[in-house]
């Protein structure tokens, strides 16, 4: 049972490991890359959870594993339905998944591809997988070049079976396209004729068209100019208000994440290091990595000083993740205990989770 009756997604000890072949002089070795390693958090109905962290820390992998676009190695992903109760997506059969898929969606910045894959049978899915990873966060290769934008946006709607006749589909497509600031005259065009930002909006429209309950937005607003970005952020918030949809919002632009999210989780080399309500995380972080990350936000004010904490030491190799606290190799505050003992994931204040031995001693408050 989840703690709150309003929990929508409950992620428990989620792990995703990839086998990696490495060339060693004369032989090839297979090692396990622990892209995601024992991640737990929950998302409430109508809530936006931001997911941030270093490039390669496993954000996209978490998003895809929740939606079962890839199979988790371990752990549970409970999708709580109001009437029918919880279903563990991590272990659900393809037939069971099919029933809930139209309620879950991914607006990969990379998009389309992911959503399309959700409508495929498992074996097809597997065959598709290599191609899917090619479309990561990339609105270019993910949109089918032979489909018009209207058909691309309409596809999940038709697949959901909710809309039967063409006029109704068209009306809904035009409605969501207009709200995503797409030019309606463009619906007949093919995706190659669009700029990066325009494609990103096509991806967002496609993810939202069937009114899902849960959407993973992976770098969905990163290629947009700040004005359109502001418009899309306002749109996502309005839609959330209207329909109660929940978002997992993955982005590198921390100011946008702060604007969008109720709570924010920070991932470092496959493990969560901090999870807290937005204001606490941004203004009173407890983990040294979060602190370093926040210091590196470039300000558009040319007179504001910019002096990011330059983390010393190598970015860890996920094939051989550091012992103890995974951040100890770069943490300015690390002590002996940090390399020996893995810090516990604990709630140090209500709703404020952190994995650091000395979190209680730090005061990183920013005004």
């Amino acid at each position: 049972m989840s703690k709150h009756k309003d929990t929508l997604i409950e992620v428990r000890d989620l792990s995703v490991h990839f086998p990696i072949k490495t060339r060693k002089l004369f032989k090839t070795e297979v090692q396990m890359l622990r892209a995601v390693d024992g991640v737990s958090f929950d998302i409430k109905r109508g809530e936006t959870v931001g997911l941030v962290g270093e490039s390669g820390s496993g954000k996209t992998t978490v998003g895809r594993a929740i939606l079962r676009a890839i199979d988790p190695t371990d752990g549970e992903v409970i999708f709580h339905r109001k009437k029918k109760g919880g279903i563990d997506l991590a272990h659900a059969s393809e037939a069971e998944l099919r029933k809930v898929r139209s309620k879950l969606n991914m607006a990969f910045g990379e998009s389309g591809g992911g959503i399309k894959v959700h409508n495929l049978a498992d074996d097809l899915l597997r065959a598709f997988r290599p191609e899917m990873s090619l479309v990561f966060q990339d609105p270019y290769s993910s949109l089918n070049p032979r489909m018009t934008v209207r058909d691309i946006i309409a596809e999940p709607l038709i697949a959901s079976g909710k809309y039967k006749n063409r006029e109704k589909v068209d009306a809904r497509v035009r409605e969501i396209a207009a709200r995503c600031k797409l030019n309606l005259e463009h619906l007949r065009r093919f995706p190659h004729a669009f700029s990066g930002g325009q494609r990103q909006r096509i991806c967002i429209a496609r993810a939202l068209v069937s009114k899902p309950k849960f959407v993973v937005c992976d770098e969905s607003v990163s290629a947009l100019d700040v004005s359109i970005q502001a418009e899309i952020v306002n749109l996502l918030k309005d839609l959330q208000e209207e329909t109660g949809v929940s978002f997992l919002f993955i982005a590198h632009d921390l100011s946008v994440v702060a604007q969008m999210s109720h709570r924010v989780a920070v991932l470092y080399v496959g493990k969560l290091v901090e999870y807290a309500p937005t204001e606490k995380l941004f203004f009173a972080p407890k983990h040294p990595y979060t602190h370093a990350l926040l210091s590196a936000i470039p300000s558009a004010d040319p007179d504001a000083g910019f002096d990011p904490i330059r983390l010393q030491g190598e970015i860890p190799n996920p094939l051989a993740a550091p012992s103890g606290c995974r951040f100890h190799t770069r943490c300015p505050f690390a002590r002996d205990r940090c390399s020996a003992e893995q810090p516990e994931w604990r709630e140090i204040e209500p709703d404020h989770f952190v994995a650091c031995h000395y979190a209680k001693e730090f005061n990183f408050s920013r005004s």
Binding site: I20, L134, N183, I228
Partner: protein, 336 residues
């Protein structure tokens, strides 16, 4: 300071089902050795295609306007008219990569999915730096290290799809920089990177620029990044440059209503609970480009009877800055 690239009056049209559209109209800019020009502006305003035109990378449906001039001064001092290079010519191949390097907005455009990252980098390194295979491999690993990819010796043998979005972007930066370009065009090179690695990559680009006098065109939507890296900035709206000048000056003291709107739309950590403020109004359809000032349909300060009728000339009130807006002309001021 010496000018390495001069673009004058660049216009680009496409044949489409809805007729001919002209998404870039009369764009002029220059890039100097060792300096960075930041290109910002509306999504779809023509930033990517303007720079692709330099390398003849536009699709067959594209046409350059007759008055377009793109003059590049090569490493050996030779002046080359980029618009006259023929597709598939030896000269164009020499320019691409070795003289002008491009980091593409679409990360997969530079990598083939069927070869490892290392093979693709080594090919470029052998071609442009004349290294042998073994040295090229070492050079590639060194370059991957420099862009912050850990365990580069193993990553070099992986395929593009096995890397995360940001790693792929960094591998692409490493690939482009390996060829040692004199002019680097970077189209949204850091959007997939977290801010700490972004800071590291920007440092690397600045270092190379200082060492080699590399000129740079840096396209981004992040005005924070512009404030960090660009010497000059040009702001584009609907295919024209509406304002340009030293980056810090333009950001501190924007003159054009569009630039002002863009700066107002930036999300700020200090105002978490305020609704974001986009530029009001809808982006016009490319088939119906507004007459007069292209921004007049969304401008809150438009001068009726002037802005929707006549295209504003470029004026310069502040030295080094230029703006296209009737508010900054004597005619406009007297009409207002």
């Amino acid at each position: 300071m010496s000018k390495m690239l001069s673009v004058e009056n660049l216009s680009i049209s496409f044949r489409t089902d809805e007729g001919v559209i002209t998404p870039v109209k009369g764009v002029s800019f220059t890039v100097e050795k060792g300096r960075t020009l930041g290109l910002v502006g509306e999504s779809g305003s023509g930033k990517s295609i303007s720079t692709k035109a330099l390398m003849q990378l536009l699709p067959g449906t594209a046409r350059l306007g007759a008055a377009s001039r793109m003059i590049y001064t090569a490493k050996d001092g030779q002046q080359i008219s980029l618009g006259n290079l023929r597709h598939g010519s030896k000269e164009l191949r020499r320019i691409r990569g070795g003289e002008i390097g491009m980091i593409f907005q679409e990360p997969m455009a530079s990598f083939s999915p069927v070869y490892t990252i290392g093979n693709q980098m080594m090919e470029a390194i052998m071609l442009h730096r004349g290294l042998k295979k073994r040295e090229a491999r070492q050079f590639a690993i060194g370059m991957l290290n420099k862009v912050g990819i850990s365990n580069a010796a193993a990553r070099v043998d992986q395929y593009p799809h096995e890397l995360s979005g940001g790693m792929r972007q960094r591998a692409m930066i490493a690939l482009t920089l390996s060829a040692g370009p004199a002019l680097l065009i970077a189209d949204e090179p850091t959007t997939a990177l977290d801010v700490t690695i972004q800071a590291q990559v920007l440092d690397l680009m600045r270092d190379l620029q200082r060492e080699l006098g590399m000129g740079m065109i840096f396209i981004t939507h992040d005005l924070g990044v512009i404030a960090q890296i660009a010497d000059d900035v040009a702001v584009m709206y609907l295919g024209t440059i509406v304002e340009r000048g030293p980056a810090k000056e333009v950001i501190r003291n924007p003159q054009h209503p569009y630039t002002q709107g863009l700066l107002d739309a930036i999300p700020s950590l200090d105002h978490l609970h305020d609704r974001l403020k986009p530029v009001p109004g809808d982006i016009p359809s490319p088939t119906a480009r507004p007459g007069g000032c292209p921004f007049h349909t969304r401008c809150t300060q438009a001068i009726a009877g002037t802005c929707e009728v006549h295209e504003p000339p470029e004026t310069s009130a502040i030295p080094g800055c230029a703006v296209r807006c009737w508010l900054h002309t004597s005619q406009g001021r007297s009409a207002a």
